[in-house]
């Protein structure tokens, strides 16, 4: 269960988020769309505290973070343990093999024994279809393979929600499908996911709910059929026409 209330964030004079509210149920997949610079990536990074919010309240599970100066590093860490993150550029640890990347969190953050961490990692790698690539370094993997390892790395921490920032945008079109399939499967299994994407095909496939963010506020939201099929707002229609 995620509850976000009146979230704001500015970079200097630029107000990027002007009061965003969101309630997301366990098992729900929410997809944020919107024009570049609308604040959707910043919203996601606030949920993981890679950016600190100016005001408003973020609740994930039993942990609530009030915006402002009161957020401690320990609280940020607690929030990150609940919200796993997948980046547009994967950001796999370049000096570690696929299996080492996935083991890293369970082993060194959660303090699990090495054998257990490795079992978790190998299990997750086979789940994303990369059992045969465990001992490859990131430089030996394609972009799609790297992104699937990155998803496994985030899942290894058993987060309450998986945050994905443009997970297919850095990939060649023919590599996007392998990542979409993995995300689809995770959605079917009931994982709570919050995505930011320009990939409308992905949004249609996996979203329970689509949120259109514009100018730092939510302009419109609904099921994929509602938002893509019959957008109520003129700016939503304009945006959808441009990306199609």
């Amino acid at each position: 269960m995620i509850v976000v209330e009146r979230l704001t964030k500015s970079f200097g004079d630029r107000r990027v988020l002007r009061g965003v509210d969101l309630t997301q149920a366990r098992g729900e997949t929410v997809v944020f769309i919107g024009p570049s610079g609308c604040g959707k990536s910043t919203f996601l990074r606030c949920l993981n505290q890679l950016e600190t919010h100016d005001s408003g309240r973020i609740t994930i599970g039993d942990l609530t973070l009030e915006g402002g100066r009161t957020v401690s590093r320990e609280q940020q860490r607690e929030l990150r343990l609940r919200a796993g993150m997948v980046f547009q550029q994967f950001h796999l640890f370049l000096h570690q093999t696929a299996v080492e990347n996935v083991m890293e969190g369970p082993l060194h953050v959660l303090g699990k024994p090495r054998a257990e961490a490795e079992a978790i990692a190998r299990d997750l790698l086979s789940k994303v279809g990369l059992a045969g690539h465990s001992d490859h370094l990131p430089s030996q993997l394609s972009g799609g393979q790297q992104q699937r390892v990155a998803i496994a790395r985030a899942l290894a921490m058993k987060p309450e929600v998986l945050l994905l920032d443009e997970p297919t945008s850095a990939l060649d079109p023919e590599l996007r499908d392998e990542v979409r399939q993995v995300l689809n499967q995770l959605a079917d299994e009931g994982l709570t996911m919050l995505l930011v994407t320009h990939d409308m095909q992905l949004a249609r496939q996996i979203a329970d709910r689509v949120v259109f963010l514009d100018g730092g506020v939510i302009a419109e939201q609904g099921t994929p059929a509602e938002v893509f099929g019959a957008p109520r707002q003129a700016r939503t229609r304009e945006f959808l026409e441009r990306v199609h």
Partner: protein, 497 residues
């Protein structure tokens, strides 16, 4: 083609070789007279009473050798002109006629020196004097110092005597620092020429002379071996100066006239033992190669220990500079800038002599060398690490933090392993650079490879052969080190395959 045309190259060659022979025969004495000036080489750092700058008039040179040179030139009907040259390199520099005509610089009349240059009759007599601390007892002769530390001037008669008497000879480049080291207790005694001892004890109340001067020796003027006319003129002038009382008047002004000087007038050249065989690196490589190799072990351990210190301390500095709280960060920046912005040589003097004088911190030469090199290179290593750490993409630390790592864990597990790999080539380069820079520590009486080379080259005059041998050792070790560095980089850079 006529015969003349065919012969003219031959004629030209003959003319040229005649010119060359004539130039070689051109007499330095004639040149000195037509120039009206006798140029003599000496080192103004020699110090009182030999040659020194007048404290009241720093432009003015004083000393008994300066006055002797003036008197000698006057006898030849010309003026004397002083030419500054590093004492160690005076004899090699004499080979260049452009620099000076002869050397007047407390040069001892020894068989070794006679193989290298022509020597005049003596103009000064001296003895070897032992100097100890006032608190030292039971030392009156060199034999009392067997196995103990005795400071001597590099390649001097004292050096040979101290070595053959079985003492542990510590070699210095100048006549001042061994007295300082004796005062602070790094040495048990100093063996030096009597005038040096007399002069320096004036300002060092903690030291005293032990026993009488022994092993009499002479200073002579050094000339180029071919300059027989100039040599004869110089010998004649010295005899005249001895007989007419000029030398006595000069030496009395410096309190140096004694029974030894009175024997100068009657001096006769010793029976010629035939030309001494010149020793070179190649004819006696069995002697010199092991000496140099043994010294290279010192160079290696100083470098390795210095590098360990530089690597560890440099990492601390880099982390403080990047992540430290404000006052610590400033201190790290200040340290790095100061150590990078001042000469290594100065730092060595500061650590070895400065700390001992001001704080009583008497580091051994080896420890001071390791400390100086390590502390200096730590500043470079810190900047290497900083560059490496900053070259790690920002996404790497975001990904680590997003996994729930603390800053420290992210640094340890993700940033440092990648950043240090990026800086590895600079660090291995610095190892090789430090290996060569370690030659600078020869200034603090540590006999490493370059110092051993200096000592043996001064002994034999074979700068070229011994230099090639020494350079060969440096190169061989550097090359092996760079091969090792390449292998290490290939192993560690597996993510770059």
């Amino acid at each position: 083609m006529n015969r003349l045309a065919r012969r003219w190259p031959l004629a030209l060659a003959a003319a040229l070789s005649w010119l060359a022979v004539a130039a070689a025969l051109a007499d330095t004495l004639t040149e000195v007279r037509s120039r009206g000036e006798l140029r003599y080489g000496n080192d103004a750092e020699g110090g009182a009473p030999y040659i020194f700058h007048d404290p009241a008039q720093p432009e003015q040179l004083r000393g008994f050798e300066v006055e002797f040179a003036d008197a000698l030139a006057a006898k030849l009907g010309v003026k004397a002109r002083f030419v500054q040259n590093n004492w160690d390199m005076l004899l090699p520099a004499l080979g260049d006629p452009e620099k000076f005509d002869l050397v007047i610089a407390a040069l001892e009349r020894t068989p070794e020196n006679q193989t290298k240059v022509a020597l005049s009759r003596p103009y000064f007599a001296f003895g070897q004097q032992l100097v100890v601390r006032r608190t030292t007892t039971n030392v009156t002769t060199l034999a009392d110092l067997r196995g103990r530390r005795v400071g001597v001037l590099s390649a001097s008669a004292s050096h040979r005597l101290a070595e053959s008497a079985g003492t542990e000879a510590r070699v210095y480049q100048d006549n001042v620092n061994y007295f300082s080291d004796l005062e602070v207790g790094r040495l048990d005694a100093v063996l030096t020429d009597s005038p040096i001892a007399a002069e320096n004890l004036k300002s060092r109340p903690q030291l005293r002379m032990a026993g009488e001067p022994f092993e009499p020796g002479h200073y002579a003027v050094a000339l180029r071996p071919g300059d027989t006319n100039l040599l004869a003129a110089v010998n004649g002038a010295i005899t005249a100066l001895t007989l007419d009382g000029t030398l006595q008047r000069i030496y009395e002004r410096y309190g140096l006239w004694n029974a030894g000087q009175e024997t100068l007038a009657a001096w006769q050249p010793p029976a010629d033992a035939g030309p001494a065989k010149r020793r070179t690196a190649w004819t006696e490589w069995r002697t010199y190669l092991p000496l140099l190799l043994r010294a290279s072990v010192t160079t290696l351990w100083v470098t390795c220990a210095g590098m360990v210190l530089a690597v560890v301390w440099g990492l601390c500095l880099a982390l403080l500079r990047l992540y430290g709280v404000a006052p610590l960060r400033w201190l790290a920046i200040a340290y790095i800038e100061v150590f990078r912005g001042t000469p290594l040589l100065l730092q060595i003097y500061f650590i070895y002599f400065g700390l001992a004088q001001q704080l009583g911190l008497k580091l051994s030469a080896g420890l001071a060398a390791v400390l100086s090199l390590g502390l200096n290179y730590a500043a470079n290593e810190a900047e290497n690490y900083r560059a490496g750490i900053q070259a790690v993409p920002k996404g790497q630390s975001e990904a680590a933090l997003a996994l729930g790592m603390s800053q420290w864990l992210a640094l340890r597990r993700v940033i440092l392993p990648q950043g240090l790999r990026i800086s590895l080539p600079s660090v291995t380069n610095d190892f090789i650079a430090m290996f060569k820079d370690s030659s600078i520590v020869s200034v603090i009486a540590l006999v490493e490879l370059t110092k051993e080379y200096q000592i043996r080259a001064l002994d034999t005059g074979d700068y070229l052969g011994l230099g090639a041998m020494t350079a060969g050792i440096y190169f061989a070790i550097s090359y092996v080190a760079s091969l090792g560095a390449g292998w290490l980089e290939r192993r560690l850079h597996r993510d770059r395959r």
